[in-house]
């Protein structure tokens, strides 16, 4: 039944995602410094009732580290997706102002789309010296082009709408037309765009950190956990990679589903 009701599906995935976010935020308060606590008598312990997800090489609880990692990823992803959407929206608005600016913005979009994502990400994160801020800026600076392209096309289409032309003929400025006619129309697009950017952003954050260009190894970020797990994987310590990876997958899927369900519903 739900299959044919896009609004219900969207509501359902919004509920699940909201629960996930609330769980992550609550876990930050409840965990305290559990993710950093070492237990030398329980190093590399496999999953059991005492150690739910097992422990790492320093005897730290993996469930606590996974939750902490996911909440770091969540905040980084949120900020990066938000910044990316703002950049996309501003550039699309700029493109709507004049033909020359439009050509310039299109050139910028095409240039960025033609460069492989990860290389640019690494270059920017490296140039900014790594760390949380660098990751957020690098992800935000590389993820806007596809959304900017959609928003620009929508704006160009809307600019020709009779009511927009009439508004200009009634003496309204370009700025007025932009913020009272065009931008409110784009808000749903922006919301969905940001939601669909979010999983990309956290995956790339994890990838950057995994490659050593991102967050510092002292933080229990998912990328750090996965990079550490690589060293122990051949020893048969599978839980080190499986649980953080699964957590990341679930979070990414939740947001991706929410984004695509909302797109169908709105």
């Amino acid at each position: 039944m739900i299959r044919h009701q896009p609004r219900l599906r969207a509501l359902l995935s919004a509920g699940i995602t909201l629960l996930l976010i609330m769980g992550l935020i609550a876990s930050q308060w409840l965990l305290g410094d559990t993710p950093q606590q070492m237990q030398f008598d329980a190093r590399l312990a496999p999953p059991s009732l005492a150690h739910w997800f097992g422990t790492d090489a320093l005897g730290r609880e993996l469930w606590a580290r996974t939750l902490a990692g996911l909440s770091i990823s969540f905040w980084v992803g949120c900020l990066a997706a938000l910044l990316s959407t703002l950049i996309a929206l501003s550039l699309a608005a700029l493109a709507a102002l004049s033909r020359r600016l439009d050509a310039l913005v299109s050139l910028l979009i095409d240039t960025l789309l033609s460069v492989p994502h990860l290389i640019l990400l690494m270059l920017i994160a490296f140039a900014l010296g790594g760390g949380t801020q660098a990751v957020i800026i690098a992800v935000a600076a590389t993820h806007w082009p596809s959304l900017a392209r959609v928003l620009r096309a929508e704006l160009l289409h809307l600019r020709q709408a009779p009511y927009v032309r009439i508004s200009r003929a009634l003496g309204k400025s370009r700025w007025f037309v932009l913020h009272s006619h065009l931008l409110p129309h784009l808000l749903p697009h922006c919301l969905i765009g940001a939601l669909l950017l979010f999983p990309h952003a956290i995956l790339h954050e994890a990838a950057l950190t995994f490659l050593g260009f991102g967050l510092s190894p002292s933080q229990p970020a998912v990328g750090v956990l996965l990079a550490e797990a690589m060293r122990y994987l051949t020893g048969g310590y599978w839980w080190l990679g499986v649980f953080p990876g699964l957590g990341l997958l679930i979070m990414v899927l939740c947001f991706a589903r929410l984004g695509s369900n909302l797109r169908r519903a709105l």
């Binding site: 709408a161 009779p162 032309r165 009439i166 003929a169 009634l170 003496g171 400025s173 409110p184 129309h185």
Partner: protein
């Protein structure tokens, strides 16, 4: 006086839609324009209102070209009112975008007070068209291009709309270009009529 001087326009190269078309509308004058579908009636209307730029020729209003900013003295009224209003705005806001008509002015066009709080989709085409016509009568407007504005209305509403517009136009000495397929309507409203075909404008006596 609104003067279109030797206008030429084409959408596809080599296929002229209008060729050396000249037209003059005086203040207070009602001019009718008829022609087959696709003959270029709406295009001529849009050229006069400054929505399109002619490839040759120019539109002159009292010895000057049309202004590029501020309230345009020549307003275009499209056939479909639902495309002419922001679907997210209430009627009051739609009207206020141009000017704030008094209650009497609203009454003259049959715009009811309880419409003001509604969204466009909650009004019928005819009701919305009246809102659009009223909006276009902002201070500073001197000419109207009415592009088949009554085609979708029932006969009684048509008469009411044209009567209200006629009265307002006489008061303010507005020049009106009425674009329509309806010969009887044009005969009744306009002192001067033209027929557009084969990219040329011919006066109808």
């Amino acid at each position: 006086m609104l003067n279109a001087h030797q206008l030429s326009f084409q959408f596809t190269a080599g296929v002229p839609l209008l060729q050396n078309v000249s037209l003059a509308i005086e203040a207070g004058q009602w001019v009718g324009l008829s022609g087959d579908s696709g003959a270029g009636k709406s295009t001529l209307g849009k050229l006069l209102a400054g929505y399109l730029t002619p490839h040759k020729g120019n539109v002159i209003l009292d010895n000057a070209t049309l202004p590029t900013s501020g309230v345009q003295p020549v307003q275009w009224l499209p056939q479909s009112p639902e495309l002419a209003v922001n679907p997210r705005w209430r009627v009051a806001k739609i009207l206020r975008e141009a000017w704030t008509p008094s209650e009497a002015q609203c009454q003259a066009f049959g715009v009811q007070p309880h419409w003001l709080s509604r969204f466009p989709h909650a009004l019928s085409g005819g009701e919305l068209q009246r809102v659009c016509v009223l909006r276009a009568l902002a201070p500073g407007v001197r000419f109207l291009v009415a592009d088949e504005i009554s085609t979708m209305l029932d006969p009684i509403t048509q008469v009411e709309l044209w009567q209200a517009l006629k009265q307002k136009a006489e008061q303010r000495r507005l020049g009106v270009l009425v674009i329509s397929h309806d010969t009887a309507l044009l005969k009744r409203l306009c002192t001067q009529r033209y027929h557009l075909s084969n990219a040329q404008l011919t006066p109808i006596s």
